[in-house]
């Protein structure tokens, strides 16, 4: 059975069906029923109230999902390794009579590469234990197979440079961006979810991009604001027009709109704007402590 190298499903394919919905027919754009929130808002609009209306902000939670599988802790990788070795030892004997028919050239080469185990001679004493032979396999150990090179028509002898001859070398899990700790690169920390934060004062204060809303839907504001901040070379996917969190602060009410970056890159349009792609732990170091405690549950642990 062939097994393939581990790789997280490419995020460009995530949720392709949902990507662009006609906004006018989406359920969020239907006339909503009057709710407690609406009642409160309409009360705020009434002339009797002195209280000022809280400012509504749309905060952009732009994330890059993991590209490769998660980094395993040492214990977990050892556990998987142990289970895999156990699995190999308990595996059925390779049916060589099916894959290498008797009398064929391939079978002859297979026999040359895979020698039979030691015969269980009843007249002999075995120091390491008596072998249990079934179908020319010692059942006490895992079966290690060496396969002959495939025979190609019209070519004689050993063929150099065949693709199947080369050992499979997986790509590195770390990138040049990791080596140089380039926090503006989307290719850093491939196994982690990265979040975009920006700073307007040369890196003193970091925050998620947020935009004030004036009679425009929250998700529209966030999407247009993203293009304004980072250029139009971004292919994004809006998970939902529904905000995933609301944060009340001095500035007003921040509604978090969740977007995923599918391809392209964020190129700061304004000279003063600096940006970083950070993991959830790094966000804790860049955002203020109270703010981070409030929004920590939105971040992916991986």
């Amino acid at each position: 059975m062939l097994r393939f190298t581990l790789r997280a499903p490419t995020f460009t394919r995530a949720l392709p069906l949902l990507k662009k919905y006609p906004v006018s027919t989406h359920r969020s754009c239907r006339t909503p029923k009057p709710t407690m929130f609406h009642k409160q808002v309409s009360r705020l609009y009434s002339t009797g109230s002195v209280q000022l209306l809280a400012k509504i902000l749309s905060t952009l939670l732009l994330l890059r999902p993991p590209v490769i599988t998660a980094d395993l802790p040492k214990f977990e990788s050892q556990y998987y390794n142990y289970q895999k070795e156990l699995w190999k030892r308990l595996m059925w004997t390779f049916p060589k009579w099916f894959y290498f028919r008797e009398g064929t050239l391939a079978e002859q080469r297979f026999r040359e590469l895979n020698k039979n185990p030691v015969h269980n001679n009843p007249n002999m004493e075995f120091i390491g234990g008596r072998p249990i032979i079934k179908h020319q396999r010692d059942l006490r150990f895992k079966q290690v197979l060496r396969l002959p090179k495939p025979y190609l028509e019209g070519e004689e002898g050993e063929v150099e440079g065949l693709e199947s001859d080369k050992p499979v070398v997986p790509n590195s899990r770390t990138t040049p961006a990791d080596a140089s700790n380039d926090t503006t690169s989307l290719e850093r920390k491939l196994a982690r979810t990265l979040y975009l934060v920006i700073s307007e004062d040369q890196g003193k204060l970091w925050a998620f991009p947020n935009f004030s809303c004036e009679n425009t839907p929250l998700h529209k504001v966030a999407e247009e604001g993203l293009y304004g901040l980072g250029g139009t070379e971004i292919n994004y996917f809006n998970v939902s027009p529904t905000p995933c969190h609301v944060q009340t602060s001095d500035k007003g009410k921040e509604f978090f709109i969740k977007l995923r970056i599918l391809s392209g890159s964020f190129v700061a349009q304004n000279k003063n704007t600096t940006f970083k792609w950070l993991t959830s732990e790094e966000l804790g170091e860049h955002l203020s402590k109270n703010y981070y405690e409030d929004i920590k549950h939105l971040m992916s642990a991986v």
Binding site: L6, P9, R27, K84, L90, S240, T242
Partner: protein, 289 residues
């Protein structure tokens, strides 16, 4: 004298003239005594116990589909399906007859509206009912196996080769001599996939097989059983794109098409389509990227 003394000690005296109130249970349960021999004790150990003779490790490597679902998809799906003030949408249920009619007293209930089967209630989305892929079942029906029974070996072998799981035989349920169908005869094989086998099959299908089928335009929009299970069919010529079969084509002279059903915990087909689409399965008539 001695007998009288002994009788004082016996408890039977209290029951003199009475009868046992305990019902006899012997001969009610049939027991194959040969199966109770101590040498069969190890058969009764569950197979996920390492002491069992049939033990097979299941968590042998990282499951990247499950990991992707857990880390990235789950929260997004909940957000996507969230609706403000959502209420329970009641499904179509069996209906009562006219209660005033005496003729309807012991009648069976009427069929529900719609397509004639009761449908399930759809609850508002929450952390406990996010749609999830629970299993994939492959069902291979070989029509020719009624005439050539040896094809049953090929059908089982093909499914085992593709899925790495031992298939179960499929037997015909009806007698129809014009189709040469006889009840109880084997006519194919089926496999139920869960866990890492399911993830591996899904990856092979979406990354290696479906992209190479020229006629494939995505999972048909009409597919689905209204209960959150989506099915597709593969033709015999599509099956050769599975890498496990592609490299040994001379060993598989007879290839068979089969049906693949993606079983999800979604309550509706639309929700199931969203889930499968996010797991990388392309759909017909999907909006352009």
């Amino acid at each position: 004298m001695l007998k009288q003394c002994l009788r004082l000690f016996s408890t039977a005296g209290a029951r003199l003239g009475g009868y046992s109130t305990v019902q006899p249970v012997h001969h009610l349960v049939k027991i194959k005594k040969s199966a109770l021999m101590p040498k069969y004790d190890e058969v009764s150990i569950p197979k996920d116990d390492i002491e069992s003779v049939g033990f097979r490790p299941t968590e042998i490597e990282q499951d990247r589909v499950a990991e992707h679902y857990r880390n990235s998809l789950k929260s997004d799906l909940m957000l996507y399906f969230y609706e403000h003030d959502a209420e329970v949408v009641r499904g179509q249920k069996l209906r009562d007859h006219d209660p005033t009619s005496p003729y309807a007293l012991y009648r069976h209930k009427r069929k529900p509206r719609g397509f004639g089967r009761p449908t399930r209630d759809v609850y508002p989305i929450g952390p406990t009912n996010i749609p999830e892929l629970t299993g994939i079942s492959l069902n291979l029906y070989a029509k020719d196996a009624h005439v050539y029974p040896w094809l049953n070996i090929s059908t089982s072998l093909q499914l085992a080769q593709i899925t790495n799981v031992k298939p179960k035989p499929v037997k015909s349920k009806i007698n129809d001599l014009s189709w040469k169908v006889r009840m109880g005869k084997r006519c194919g094989a089926k496999v139920e996939l869960t866990g890492s086998d399911m993830s591996q099959f899904l990856l092979t299908l979406t990354e290696l097989v479906l992209p190479r089928i020229r006629t494939f335009r995505g999972v048909p929009k009409k597919s689905g059983d209204k209960f959150g299970n989506i099915s597709i069919g593969l033709d015999p010529e599509d099956v050769k794109f599975f890498p496990e079969i592609e490299h040994f084509q001379e060993l598989f002279p007879n290839l068979f098409g089969f049906h693949i059903t993606f079983k999800t915990s979604a309550r509706t087909d639309d929700a199931a389509r969203v889930l499968l689409s996010s797991l990388g399965l392309p759909f017909e008539n999907a909006p352009a990227m």
